[in-house]
């Protein structure tokens, strides 16, 4: 790693670690939310960016994660720490099962089915009101730091989300460089060739769906804890669209893109809201279309190209990191 980059990363890490002591509770909550969104975007990108399966319904898995945690804490008094992996596991299972019929649905059909899922979620949540508290939702209390660590709940949640996010980042990086990771990308680039080379496309696609949903479930649980409240109407179809906006802005098939995307979907609507209630969505829509025209590989891809042009030869371009239509490098690596 070149020295300049190491210094930059170190400074960034320090900034991120010290943030809880410099920001007010609400600002900090916003950054916790950024970590949570980044987890969702990592998972969604694994599925949509790397594996080429379009999901317009990841809000459903986010809701499932949040409700799994909320119900376990509220109804069964499970310590919150256990609910986060439990939410991940529940979503992995449901995602894997949803992935099995989804296998037969290519491209558009999958987009349709997941879009329908996203639309149906609030109704389903309200229907099982014995568990979910109906449209009233479930109120949670923010968890305190364990072992008497002198941190406020907001600070503790921030660090927790940050650590989970870092773990998921490392997992994703390693997954994508492993044999299964290459199989995942190969299925996207040329399903028939991938199958001919002995990749079990059915299994890998379902597994990718499961893993992606699992990430989203973990994020949902943390998000629910951070907001300390879950209600059906916050998990509507627009939440799923927000996630889609996140990966498009951050960069399809880019791991660091998750951060840019998460920052965008957390902060841009906040500022746009001051213009009009509808303004955030107008901006989302314009960005979605504009990015497809001029920056199809998102902010991450744009920065990568800038760095490349600046002659930073020390960074090899990862083959999986390109979704540009040219994509010639896939064939040669």
């Amino acid at each position: 790693m070149p020295r300049g980059r190491a210094v930059g990363l170190g400074a960034l890490l320090l900034l991120v670690l010290l943030m809880p002591f410099a920001l007010s509770g609400f600002r900090l909550f916003q950054f916790t939310q950024v970590c949570v969104y980044a987890m969702v975007l990592l998972g969604l990108n694994l599925l949509t960016g790397y594996n080429g399966q379009i999901s317009l319904g990841h809000g459903a898995f986010y809701a499932l994660g949040a409700y799994t945690a909320a119900i376990m804490i509220d109804r069964w008094s499970v310590p919150y720490g256990w609910t986060i992996p439990a939410a991940g596991a529940a979503c992995f299972l449901v995602g894997f099962l949803f992935g099995i019929p989804a296998l037969r649905l290519e491209g558009l059909h999958l987009a349709l089915a997941t879009f329908a899922l996203a639309l149906a979620v609030p109704q389903i949540l309200k229907y099982f009101d014995g568990w979910t508290g109906g449209s009233q939702g479930i109120v949670l209390s923010k968890p305190r730091a364990p072992l008497g660590i002198p941190l406020s709940p907001d600070q503790w949640l921030y660090y927790l989300a940050l650590v989970v996010l870092l773990v998921l980042f490392v997992l994703t990086w390693n997954l994508l460089r492993s044999r299964p990771g290459r199989a995942i990308v190969a299925i996207r680039d040329n399903p028939i060739a991938a199958r001919a080379m002995g990749i079990d496309a059915a299994l890998y696609k379902s597994l990718t769906f499961g893993v992606s949903a699992g990430y989203t479930g973990v994020a949902g649980a943390l998000g629910g804890l951070a907001v300390a409240f879950v209600a059906p109407d916050s998990f509507n179809v627009f939440l799923s669209i927000t996630f889609l906006v996140g990966i498009v802005i951050g960069g399809l098939a880019s791991v660091p893109g998750a951060i840019f995307g998460a920052l965008f979907i957390q902060f841009v609507p906040n500022y746009a809201q001051e213009i009009s209630k509808a303004a955030p969505w107008a901006i989302y829509g314009v960005f979605l279309i504009a990015f497809m025209y001029v920056m199809p590989d998102g902010v991450a891809g744009f920065l990568r190209r800038l760095a490349h042009r600046a002659g930073d030869q020390a960074r090899p371009v990862r083959p999986a990191a390109s979704t540009t239509p040219k994509g010639g490098q896939h064939a040669h690596t």
């Binding site: 379009i54 987009a111 349709l112 879009f115 149906a120 107008a282 497809m292």
Partner: protein, 295 residues
């Protein structure tokens, strides 16, 4: 008595089915022409309905506003295809889906911005007094919807079957290369296809607004049912989409009446189930055909 309820439910199911059929037909028309599932179809219909609402508020008589809206919807659809969709034609599916979702979001927020999110009543052109046939009571709006939908479908059928322009549009959708060699302006035909789809969607919006009221998110549920209808009938078959629409409308109503745990609360889940089951059991739908590709 039981048979009365059944008949009433079937007729009102056919009425909502007509609306689903119109929107599903719009989806299929666009899919056939450009291989895009237009996720923004519902919002285009919603926006057209708001345009009609503005005209009505300005004192324009109903049927004049109706016609005016159709013309504007047609132009709007044409422009959207030519300006927004055209640059991404032939791009990967993901790009197309994202652009359509972008369009959905823009139209939705634009409507919210201009007209606010307050729910507005919307007039029905049909008389209010219920129509009695024996002991069965029918809503006039329901019957009106069925008549208008069927008339529109008949007109569309005649257009595509008997006019040169209709033939050219079908040709451009089926085989753009050869059509271009025959002198058909393929790009313009695709635009016309979007325009017509927007027009058909606008009719659906105008007909459904008196029932579910006017607000920017009104078409969400309708769109998912139209998806279900198009999937059930076969996304490659206009005839199938229409049959699927009526079927889904009737299924929805009967399921809501006779299966106690569904009621009105799980209606969207019924649509989701229809979509998933059809895609699993018969992905081409009832009347669709499998698309064979050379690789």
């Amino acid at each position: 008595m039981a048979i009365d309820t059944f008949l009433q439910q079937v007729v009102s199911g056919l009425a909502t089915g007509g609306i689903y059929a119109s929107l599903a037909l719009a989806l299929v028309m666009i899919y056939q022409a450009t291989e895009i599932v237009n996720f923004a179809q519902g919002e285009m219909a919603m926006f057209s309905t708001y345009v009609a609402w503005s005209m009505l508020n300005a004192g324009v008589p109903y049927w004049a506003a109706f016609l005016g809206t159709l013309v504007l919807a047609f132009l709007g659809g044409f422009l959207i295809e030519r300006v927004i969709v055209r640059p991404v034609e032939g791009k990967p599916v993901l790009t197309l889906v994202i652009v359509c979702i972008g369009l959905l979001v823009i139209l939705n927020s634009l409507a919210g911005w201009i007209y606010s999110y307050v729910i507005q009543p919307f007039p029905s052109p049909f008389p209010r007094a219920p129509i009695r046939v024996g002991t069965v009571v029918f809503g006039p709006h329901d019957l009106g919807v069925i008549v208008v939908t069927l008339a529109m479908l008949g007109l569309l059928y005649a257009f595509f079957r008997y006019t040169t322009l209709g033939l050219a549009m079908r040709a451009a959708a089926q085989n753009p290369g050869s059509s271009r060699l025959c002198g058909i302006r393929v790009g313009r035909m695709l635009g016309l296809g979007w325009g017509l789809a927007a027009l058909v969607g606008a009719v659906a919006g105008l007909l459904v607004a008196p029932v579910i009221f006017l607000e920017p998110n009104m078409m969400g549920g309708i769109l998912i049912y139209a998806f279900a209808a198009a999937t059930l009938g076969g996304i490659t078959s206009p005839f199938g989409a229409v049959v699927g629409g009526f079927l889904v409308g009737v299924i929805e109503n009967l399921a809501g009446t006779y299966i106690p745990f569904i009621g009105t609360e799980l209606k969207l889940t019924v649509a989701l189930l229809i979509i998933v089951v059809v895609l699993l059991v018969r992905p081409t739908g009832l009347f669709g055909h499998a698309v064979v590709r050379r690789v």
